[in-house]
Structures are given as C-alpha cells and as structure tokens.
C-alpha cells in the first residue's frame, strides 16, 4: 500500500541518516521528546538550529577573513556552534567542529579554514537530507518516535 510504502521510505531515510553517520543518538533523544503535545518537536528544533547557526557561520566566516586570525574568538564561536550541533545530533558537523577547535588551539589558521569549509559542507548536506526527511514524514502518516528499526 502507498501508506506502507511511505512509511517504509521514511523509515529507510531515517535509518540511512544514522547509518551514514549524519545523525547520532541525540537525534533519537529529540525524537523521544516528540509526542502528541509536541508533534513537530524534532522539526522545530532542527529549524531553530539552522536558523540560529547560519548567523554563527557567517560570523565565523567573517572572523576567518580577518588577518591575523583571532583564535580565541574563533574558538568561542566554534564552541557555540558545536554545542548547537550536538544538541540536534549532527554528528559529522560536530566532528568537524571538534577538529576546528583543535586547530584553533595550536593556532593553525590553514587547518581551521579547511576544516570549516568541510563543516559547512556537512552542515548543508545534513540540512538537505533532513528537509527531505521531514517532508517525507509530512506527506506520509505521522511517524512516532522510535528506535531505529531495521
């Protein structure tokens, strides 16, 4: 049936996000918080994340353009970015953030820039995937939060 197919499709999408390492356990926590009282909690959080962090990314980009680089400031920004990313379970983004901070600590500007580009890429990829996922969820029947089923 269509519905089942949709279900399955959504489920598969979701699972792949985990399998491919885009999302981690934290995302499941979010899902578990979703209930009838908060039916779109996950989507809300993710939307909030993308909205807020876009500002942050802009700041980091600007900071990376300065010369010389202010590693303290960069580290502060990145700490914040990492915190948000962690809150939604953005695994790959978080990994890049950690790497970035390592570079900051040693003052490796080159490394910072490279890592940040990577982080942005992951950030964007995840965004698209999540958007697709939410869309599929919407169109399909509402899916209750549950552990990844395989």
């Amino acid at each position: 049936m269509e519905r089942n197919q949709m279900h399955r499709q959504v489920s598969v999408m979701r699972q792949s996000l985990f399998d491919q390492g885009y999302l981690d356990e934290q995302f499941i926590q979010l899902e578990e918080l979703q209930d009838d009282a908060n039916p779109n909690f996950v989507e809300e959080v993710v939307t909030l994340y993308y909205r807020d962090s876009s500002r942050l990314i802009l700041s980091i980009d600007q900071a990376l353009e300065r010369n010389p680089l202010d590693f303290n400031k960069l580290d502060t920004y990145m700490h914040q970015f990492k915190g948000s990313s962690t809150s939604i379970g953005a695994k790959k983004v978080k990994a890049e953030c950690t790497q970035f901070r390592e570079y900051c600590k040693v003052g490796n500007g080159e490394g910072c820039m490279r890592t940040f580009q990577q982080a942005k890429k992951e950030y964007t990829i995840l965004k698209r995937k999540l958007e697709a996922y939410f869309q599929a969820r919407q169109s399909g029947p509402s899916e209750t939060a549950c552990r990844p089923r395989n």
Binding site: N38, E44, L48, D70, H79
Partner: protein, 695 residues
C-alpha cells in the same frame, strides 16, 4: 486559600512543578533543554541572557527553586552568574556545558554549583535534579539549628524563595518561631517529607541586597576577615531582623569567594612575581611620603598590594587604605616591579585585577564584578567591561561593591588633566598622596582628575573592551580623588567614585597608569565610574580585577588597543607608573590574562620609573595581545631600568614639586592629547621626560 496557585500545587507534588530557570545563550540548546524539563514536569522559565536571568531572580524573590545555566555565555560568564545567584539568592545552580573538562567542572563546584551536567543533556539526568533543591533545604536549616540559634532564616533557602531583606526582616521574628517549630519537626523527620513541609512553607530568606551586602562587607572589614564572627558582624551591621544564622551563612560564602579570589590573585601574583618580584616594600604604601618617583606606579601596585592586603589578611578590599593601596606612595624603592611579587602581590594582582574588575563594574556588562558578592554597581557606561563580564555579574546595578569602607582617604588623584596626563598626573598625584601619607587609597590629588577623565574620553571608541576597563579605571581614578574635578571623561568618570577611595585609588592608579596606554585610559575611565559603585573598595576591586583578568583573558581586548597605542605611548613614561598600574589593568583588559601578569609586573616596574620606565612600559602595553605578553616582559625589564633611573629621583620631596611640574606637563599634554585616546600619546612622552627631570 492558596496564596499562589503555582506555589501550592507544585509544592505539594514536588518535584513536579518545580520551578526552574534555564539560562543558555544558544537558542537550540535552550529550546531543547526547555522541552526536556517540561517533559520532567517542571515549571520552566527560559532566558538566553544571564543578565535577564539575574533580573528575573531578583525581582521575584520566591519565584524559582532551581537555576540551570550554561557556562559559556556572551553577556556574562556562567560562573559569575553562579556566584551571584548563590550569594544573593542562595538557590541551587546547575551548570551546563559542552565542555566536560575536569578543570571546568572543578571550577563549577568551587564556585558553588550543585551539579555540573554535560551537553547534550539527557532527560534521565534532569529527572533527578530536584534532589539539589531538597538537599539545600534540608541542610541549611539543619545547620542553623545546629548553630543553636532559634533563628533560621535560611531554612527557607532551599526553598528558592528569595525574600527581600525587608520582608525577611519583617517576618523574621515570626518566621523564626515558626521555623523553630518546623525545624524541630524536621529534625525528627529529617530524611524526608519534613522538609517538604518546611520547604513548601514560604520561609523568608534573607536577600543579600547590595546595601545589605555592603554593610556586611564594611562590618567584616572593620573587624578583619579573619576575626570576623557572625555575632559581631551582626552587631556592627545593626540590621533589624537579620539573624546570626543569616550572617554566618553569608560569611561562609563570602569567605569562599575571597579564597577563590585570592587564589586567582596568587596565581597572578606569582606570575607577576616571576617578572619582578619586588618585595613587599612597596607594598607598604603606607609611607606615602615615599612617593618620590612616580611611585604612583608603584603606588598603584601598592595599592594593589594594599588592596590585596586587605584581601589576604582581611580578605577585604577594604584595606585599600593600607599603604599598599596606594602603592604609589612609598614604593620608590620597591621598584614596584611587580605587582605580583609581593606577598600581596597576589594581592596586587588582585588589586589590579580587582581594580579592573572593580572598574569594570561600571562596564555595561553590568555584571562586571565577578561574583562579587557585593555586586559592584557598575555604571553602564563602562563599556570596557566586556571582560567585566564576571564583574558585571556583580555589578549589576544592584550589586554593590563592598568597597572597603576604609578608603575614605584614598583619593585618586587622577590628576592628569588630559588623557596623556593621566599617566603623569596620576603619578604626581600619587606621589602627592603618598607624601601626605594619603590614606590607603590612592590618594589622587584632586588635581588632575581631569586627566583621568580625559583618558576616558579618548578611549571610548577604540578600545571598546578596554574602554570598559578604562572606564572602570577612570571611574576609579575619578572617584578617588577627583572629586573636585569634573571628569569630562567618560561618563565613568563623571561618577565620583570618590567614596570608594580605595577603589578609586586603585583605579586611579590604574587609570593613571593607563594614561600612557590608551587602554589604560579607558580602563581608568572605566574604573572611575566603577569606583563609585565600588564603595566597598577592595573587594570590589579585587573582584573587578579578577573579573577583569578573567575577562581579559577571554577577550583580547588589547587588540584594538594595540592599534591605537602604537604611537607615542611609550613616551609617557611618566605615566608609566600609572600605566604600569594600568598595565595590570590593561593586562586584564588586554588580550589575555597573561598579559595581565606581565603587565602587572611591568606595572610594578613602572611604578618607579617615571618616564623611562613608562615608555617602556607603554611600549609593552601597546603591543598586541600576542605581543602584550612579550611586551609585558619587556616592559618589566624596562620598568626595572626605569626604576633605576627613577630611583635617584627625590623621594617624596619631589613629589610635590614634581607634582607641580607634572601638572604643567600634564596640561601641555592634555592639549595635545585631547584627541588622542591613549593617554600616553607621544606628547606624554616628551613630557614624561621632562617630568622625569622634575622629579
């Protein structure tokens, strides 16, 4: 029957409905946390600003049971907020951070956090946080009980209700009685619901408002921190309905706070000491007469020292009056080399730090004072307070710095009319002061408060961060001595910090010192306003300094400052001393806390040398953050040289004369420096040299 529906229901079903205040600047995390907390059936209020959180907590004493706060926040350091909440409202606070570093966790605990959670936080962890509320309630009353007093004002602490002092006072009598009964009950059913009952009852809680805290600090200072006993403090404070228990518990917290400050200062001192390690001789500011050289620098140190002194021994800034306070005064020989060094160096550092911090109070951050219990009342204009974050916490309008009451004398002679003069004037002033044996505080002649003021004005823009600092400083300076002079400089100055004398002195010194450096100026300026608030003085200062230091480390304020300072500052050696003092301040302001250290040392060095040292000093100051540290080192070296040079300067006697000359010089400098933010502007340089000769 229910006074407040909210209170009754939640209380009855505690922990359901427990009122939590969540603070986190990251909206995603905050939203997530809020949802989690609601899922735990708590009553949640969120805010993404620490200052807003404080406001919420203050305006409604009994509104919350528990606070959860992030560690890294832009407007205020989470630890500072933690301290303030603990001191003012005595609520359990849980820290939250993405960073689980042991050191940070330790810091959280030492600052009084009930718990430290790592992000991303899990719901299982949140399900148990109510235990902290119970625990607090349980133990506080018990302690009170044990102390044998019938009054248990703190019984209600766990409640989370903050009762205004007034209210507390009113109800105290009744409460006490009731408490006693309750306590008895509680004692019997200790492990449990007894507490619920008492906790559900609205026990008035003493709210340590700024005023109250100020009185407390004054009383403690009077007695000496070591000798302060709750009963005596209570008597001294003479506040109705305040119980011994209230005071005892508050004293405990205060001591912890000071200890923390001291350790920070000690660290700084050590650093400073490493640089120059002069002995406490200059600490002994007492001998103001020794001002001869621009001991002001030293003086500043001294006062730092004294400031420290007050801390370490008494733990209260109040001691600014002590000779050290003015540092300038008699430091001539001590070669102020380092703030850090003296025993009080930590104190000095603290002073400086404190000053900075103190100064910062004004800073807009508002909470400049780190955990300053007294909460310095910082003037909003202290923009330099960025670092004051910490301070700001204290500084929030309500905070009152426990500026040592002892500083009446200290008048910050911010003499320098012009910014550039600041450095110079300060010195002279300081010297003057010393000569007169100005009381502990930085006795800044009234003469040149202007300079301080001028400093402030200059800095406003360039050093946003510094400015704040400067503001603080200037305020300090202003307050200290400039009574007479209207400080055109920053708003900060405007405020006659005078009363804070000590604070001011320190500040002034700082300001003066800073004269050379733009930053200094700003810091001075910033200080001034702060000073006013600081009344309490030392404590505030220390706190300020600490906060400043902390702030600075976090912010590399210097960066901007460097740009500006590039020129001419060096010259203002004269100001040097002031600068030196400033340095610490600046240091704080400057990019890194480390800068502080070196700065401090430099600072000390500056004290002595009038011009030469200063220039060197200034040079160092100007260096960018990265360089700052280096410069600091250099500066210290130079300072030392300067010191030598200055050594020959007439001790004491010159001061007056030099003062005069300084005035002139300052005047000249002022004109030139008018538009220059940095005090030390080149003009000073020339002048400083001349000053030197004068001196």
């Amino acid at each position: 029957m229910t006074v407040e529906p909210v209170m009754d229901d939640p209380r009855d079903q505690f922990p359901i409905g427990m009122r939590v205040l969540a603070v986190d600047d990251d909206p995603t995390c905050l939203f997530f946390l809020e949802t989690l907390l609601r899922r735990c059936k708590y009553h949640v209020t969120t805010t993404n600003q620490a200052v807003a959180a404080l406001r919420l907590l203050r305006e409604n004493k009994d509104k919350f049971d528990l606070v959860i706060s992030d560690v890294y926040m832009p407007d205020m350091d989470g630890f500072k907020l933690l301290e303030l909440v603990g001191l003012e409202m005595d609520l359990p606070v849980i820290m939250l951070s993405g960073n689980g570093d042991t050191k940070l966790v330790m810091k959280g605990i030492t600052h009084g956090a009930c718990d430290y959670l790592l992000k991303p936080v899990r719901i299982e962890e949140l399900k148990n946080i109510w235990q902290h509320v119970i625990r607090k309630k349980k133990f506080d009353p018990k302690d009170s009980n044990n102390s044998g007093n019938q009054d248990n004002p703190h019984c209600g602490t766990a409640e989370g209700g903050i009762v205004s002092a007034g209210a507390l006072l009113d109800q105290n009598g009744k409460l006490n009685k009731r408490r006693k009964d309750q306590n008895e009950d509680e004692d019997e059913e200790n492990d449990e619901n007894g507490h619920d009952d008492s906790s559900t009852q609205k026990k008035p809680r003493v709210v340590w408002s700024v005023d109250l805290h100020r009185k407390f600090v004054a009383a403690v200072h009077q007695m000496g921190i070591d000798k302060a006993v709750p009963k005596k403090i209570l008597d001294l404070m003479n506040v109705e309905k305040l119980t011994r228990e209230n005071v005892a518990s508050h004293l405990q917290k205060y001591r912890l706070y000071l200890k923390r400050l001291n350790s920070i200062v000690n660290q700084q001192a050590n650093m400073a000491a490493a640089l120059g390690g002069t002995d406490a001789s200059y600490l002994r500011m007492g001998s103001l007469n020794g001002l001869e050289n621009f001991h002001t620098l030293n003086g500043s140190e001294q006062f730092h020292n004294s400031a420290f002194r007050s801390f370490p021994p008494s733990g209260l800034l109040g001691r600014l009056n002590t000779p050290a306070g003015l540092g300038m005064r008699g430091l001539p020989s001590s070669g102020m080399t380092q703030l850090g060094h003296t025993q009080n160096s930590s104190g000095s550092t603290i002073d400086q730090v404190n000053f900075q911090q103190v100064i910062l109070p004004g800073s807009h951050n508002g909470s400049v004072l780190q955990g300053m219990p007294t909460a310095l009342e910082l003037d909003p204009h202290m923009n330099g307070v960025t670092h004051a974050r910490e301070l700001s916490t204290a500084i929030d309008n309500r905070t009152v710095f426990p500026i040592s009451s002892g500083f009446p004398d200290a008048k910050v002679t911010i003499g320098s009319s012009s910014n550039s003069l600041l450095g110079v004037t300060n010195n002279t002033l300081m010297l003057e002061q010393n000569r007169q044996g100005a009381q502990g505080g930085i006795v800044f002649g009234n003469q040149s408060p202007v300079s301080v003021a001028s400093l402030n004005s200059e800095f406003p823009s360039p050093l946003m961060d510094h400015n704040r600092l400067n503001d603080n400083w200037s305020n300090a300076a202003q307050s200290s001595g400039i009574h007479s002079n209207p400080f055109p400089l920053n708003d900060c100055f405007k405020q006659p910090i005078l009363h804070h004398n000590n604070l001011q002195d320190n500040m002034s010194t700082m300001a003066l010192r800073i004269g050379s450096n733009r930053c200094d100026v700003s810091s001075v300026t910033s200080v001034s306003p702060q000073l006013q608030d600081i009344r309490a003085g030392i404590e505030c200062q220390a706190n300020l300094i600490n906060s400043i230091n902390d702030q600075i480390s976090n912010h590399a304020p210097l960066q901007e400052w460097d740009d500006h300072n590039q020129d001419g500052y060096y010259r203002s050696n004269v100001m040097g001393s002031s600068i030196n003092s400033m340095i610490p301040v600046n240091g704080a302001v400057c990019p890194t806390a480390q800068g502080l250290e070196p700065k401090n040392t430099m600072f000390l060095a500056n004290m002595d040398f009038n011009s030469t040292g200063q220039s060197n000093f200034i040079d160092t100051l100007y260096l960018k953050d990265d360089q700052v540290n280096k410069s600091a080192a250099e500066a210290s070296l130079k300072l030392k040289q300067g010191l030598l040079m200055d050594q020959r300067k007439p001790q004491g006697s010159h001061i007056s004369s030099s003062f005069g000359s300084l005035e002139d010089i300052v005047g000249a400098m002022v004109k030139e420096e008018q538009d220059k933010v940095t005090l030390i502007e080149g003009d000073l340089g020339c002048d400083t040299y001349s000053l030197r000769t004068c001196i």
